[in-house]
Symmetry: C2
Subunit: 383 residues, 2 copies
């Protein structure tokens, strides 16, 4: 009988493998958690950038979902998704594309965090006769953008510009990006509460001023998985959980055996006196993401597995050139470099699924126990 691994030999390497069984398990796990909280999930499609993956992630073929670019919004809209949040602060020059999508029937919401941006959105909305819905971004952890949660004056000023000058004030959103730096599940749960509190308290301030705030949107993959409660939250956003990665495993959000996206590579040489295997996966195939560098266990450019996905303990993709990678044993470990001929296939588990997948144009879909590739799902990219 053919093994799954042997039938992968037909693939050109490097390429991106997607273990559909693991992906389905990851999706079902977060769906079950959100059902337990009674909160709607708005999956973030910036990780998969694929219609086929999106359909498996979303509650319905129409959404809801979040995107990080208008290119994603346009691609998913063309595939029938009608409930979309463009979850990055919008610039005025992007409002034409926002309006064009809305005119095609897409309920596309934008994000602002300043009076200046709110004025631009309201002015364009008024001129177009389309009250563009907007969420106000709240800065729950100092990570990125957003209004400070205690700056109620600023919050309400933005809310009023949206509500009164032409846009539609739909609510608030925040993202606990600092949860990626947590060192325990307890710390992640605390961060989830900080994220929830920031959004809910701002929503209450808006409602207290007599303004509408139907949506309270929070989320990051770590906080979504360990939130103790989500009272007052109407939706949770998360993205990388669909595939997971070594950063999430290092945080304790998943195990390495949950990671669904890997890079298939071929052995192209050896430097035995240096203890190296050379493979055809360099940074072009892996990305330059070194997200585990700040974690207690640095996985360099990724964990090395055999062609079936079984991890070689303490064997790492240690260095990368553009189209070559160097596989080594972790210094100081008891790992053993496998004895592999030129042409042998390996899988590399990546640091950061969003970044690694972005280097590829398609997923080669595999299911453990079934030979070969069961489907090829295209990705898109750009802005």
């Amino acid at each position: 009988m053919e093994t799954a691994a042997s039938t992968l030999d037909a693939l050109e390497t490097p390429c991106l493998l997607l273990d559909e069984t693991r992906m389905t398990r990851n999706i079902e796990r977060l769906n079950a958690l959100m059902a337990g909280h009674g909160v709607r999930l708005r999956p973030h499609l910036k990780t998969p950038k694929s219609i086929e993956v999106a359909r498996r992630l979303m509650a319905t073929p129409q959404g809801p979902a979040a995107v990080s670019t208008l290119q994603e919004a346009e691609q998913f809209a063309a595939a029938g998704v009608t409930d979309l949040l463009y979850a990055v602060g919008v610039s005025p020059s992007k409002l034409d594309r926002v309006l064009a999508l809305r005119q095609r029937g897409v309920d596309l919401t934008v994000v602002v965090d300043s009076i200046e941006a709110a004025r631009a959105v309201s002015a364009r909305a008024k001129a177009a006769g389309d009250p563009i819905p907007a969420l106000i971004e709240i800065d729950c952890d100092g990570h990125r953008a957003g209004v400070q949660p205690k700056d109620t004056d600023q919050l309400l000023a933005i809310a009023r510009v949206l509500h009164e000058d032409g846009a539609c004030l739909r609510g608030v959103m925040t993202h606990a990006g600092e949860s990626y730096g947590c060192r325990s599940v307890e710390a992640i749960a605390d961060m989830a509460e900080q994220e929830r509190w920031a959004a809910v308290s701002c929503a209450e301030a808006i409602r207290g001023a007599g303004l509408p705030c139907p949506v309270v949107s929070v989320g990051s993959t770590p906080t979504a998985h360990f939130a103790r409660k989500l009272d007052g939250v109407t939706e949770v956003r998360a993205g990388v959980y669909v595939f997971f990665d070594l950063v999430m495993a290092g945080l304790g959000v998943c195990s390495v055996d949950d990671i669904a996206a890997t890079v298939l590579t071929t052995v192209i040489g050896h430097q035995p006196e240096k203890g190296w295997i050379l493979v055809d996966a360099g940074w072009m195939a892996m990305s330059r993401d070194r997200g585990t560098a700040k974690q207690p266990v640095d996985q360099l450019y990724g964990l090395v597995c055999d062609a079936d996905g079984k991890v070689y303990p303490d064997v790492l993709l240690a260095e990368t050139n553009q189209e070559q990678g160097i596989v080594k044993v972790r210094p100081g470990s008891s790992g053993v470099l496998p004895d592999l001929p030129i042409g042998a296939k390996l899988r590399i588990v990546p640091n950061h699924a969003c970044a690694t997948c972005a280097q590829h144009d398609a997923y080669e879909v595999v299911r453990p126990g079934e030979p070969g590739v069961v489907a090829r799902w295209e990705r898109f990219r750009g802005w």
Copy 2:
């Protein structure tokens, strides 16, 4: 009169700008250096991945050129390039595509560094009745792949397998990747001599054994620019010089004003109390490459310029999320954060041109003094 900057407002951001005037100057500089040495240049097309840039780089529309993937080889062959070196160690599974290109009239050369790989190439060449030309890779600096220059037994064993068993022994090649770690122009010049010596001495060993070695190929962008002599070398390979980048500027190979590829981005927000400007160029637009992190001056994710390309001293793209970047003043410097409204455009000078350009599908070509975009040149990618 419209300025160049104002007419860039029509571009969707983030996008990749290419200053054609700087590119032309960079190309002419290395062409002149190589003419002075009397050595042929084989530009490496892994940096541009664009037919239009390739035509400006190559000595003739047919080449010569080097590539890092067979996808590049196929794309450039389709555009009429017939003299190509696939400069990464070839795996047996890629030989079908190598042979298919050769059957279309492309003089495609491969690289091997082991008896195992040489046997695979010779066996397939013999079976196909096409003596695939191969260079033997030499490890001049411990950086990557290759035969140790003093391991003459191994070198000659590989040479004989290629020459006698079905392939065509075309010569030797080496790449001084460690030149990226040099700390002075003197050190780069020393590394260039080490690279030259490794290749030339191996070529002499092969010829001394009565075997052919017509090609002696060396190169990296730093060593190509500072080699004191190239006696015995028949061709030099270099890639990133076409655009240059902050890593090359940090090495002293170019100045920041030579860097031709930048990312155009839009201001999307401010966090004044933190001293931040938020822009729509995150790691998706810049890549995760932090190549200057190991240099004396760490440029973080890149140097920030105004829309015309004038550098704001000590203003950096300091942090990146997927689709957002955080602009800050370099800590401890006298830099001043510019006062820019939402919607203003900036250019970011990248760490590593190969990695940043790979995140984009096209170059928006600009010429200083001419308004707007003068051309759009597509890039390709994949394997």
